[in-house]
Symmetry: C2
Subunit: 122 residues, 2 copies
Amino acid sequence: MSYLPHPPSDQIELAAVLEALSDPTRLGIVIDLADRKTEWEARCGEFSHLGSKTNLTYHFAKLRAAGVTHARAEGTSRFISLRREDLDARFPGLLDTVIKAARSAARKREPASGRAVRKAAR
Amino acid sequence: MSYLPHPPSDQIELAAVLEALSDPTRLGIVIDLADRKTEWEARCGEFSHLGSKTNLTYHFAKLRAAGVTHARAEGTSRFISLRREDLDARFPGLLDTVIKAARSAARKREPASGRAVRKAAR
DNA sequence: CCGTAAGTTCAAAATCTATTGAACTATTGA
DNA sequence: TCAATAGTTCAATAGATTTTGAACTTACGG
């Protein structure tokens, strides 16, 4: 798999996006990214509760290759963000409905105050 | 895989739905179902352009197991329909945005008059 | 320069998914 | 009853995805 390139927004494929979002680890990454309100970038290391470093590299690459996330290198870190505008231009509403669906699903699984509980679990 | 049972609507899992929708054959089935305006059921046999009988049985089972479709037996036929209300209750807007996205993707691939061309290709 | 921290790469293994063909069941119509 | 139709089941295969560990690169601080 080639690692750093991002697909241009008009070449993002629906099936690839859905496949990227259909894995629990990657869905976890995406809703964690979506949960950040003001600043929207995250260091890869902040997702260590979702898997090993090696494995996360793999999942980040899939999300990036599918056009779901953007990655930027700075020093020895990578900063990840959702490609909201690009996705919304190509498939209007899709990312938002998936994020909302994922949040409501998470709420049902963990009835006691989603965000706080997720933080504590790290 | 267990074949006829359908999950109750409150047990439909997001990851399973997205995974079901992330395969081109199954996405094809879903948009074909969505393209029917008045009557909403289809015989399995109407999808033979999308794969072999055996293979379609497999894909129909996946869609059904994920909660995306409903299957009803009548004689030797099965009638398939989308579980629109159930999906919409659980994940509002999701099915519609995916269908719209799939249609716009199909339109870009086949620029000459989507529906007519699809019919002719059978 | 040295050590550490953040991620990547590669190859192997483990696990899933999709596809096929042959044999099967169940229903229908003649 | 017979043959045909519609779809299922099963086992085998091919192929793709996920996961892991060890070795690696690159940047940063002291």
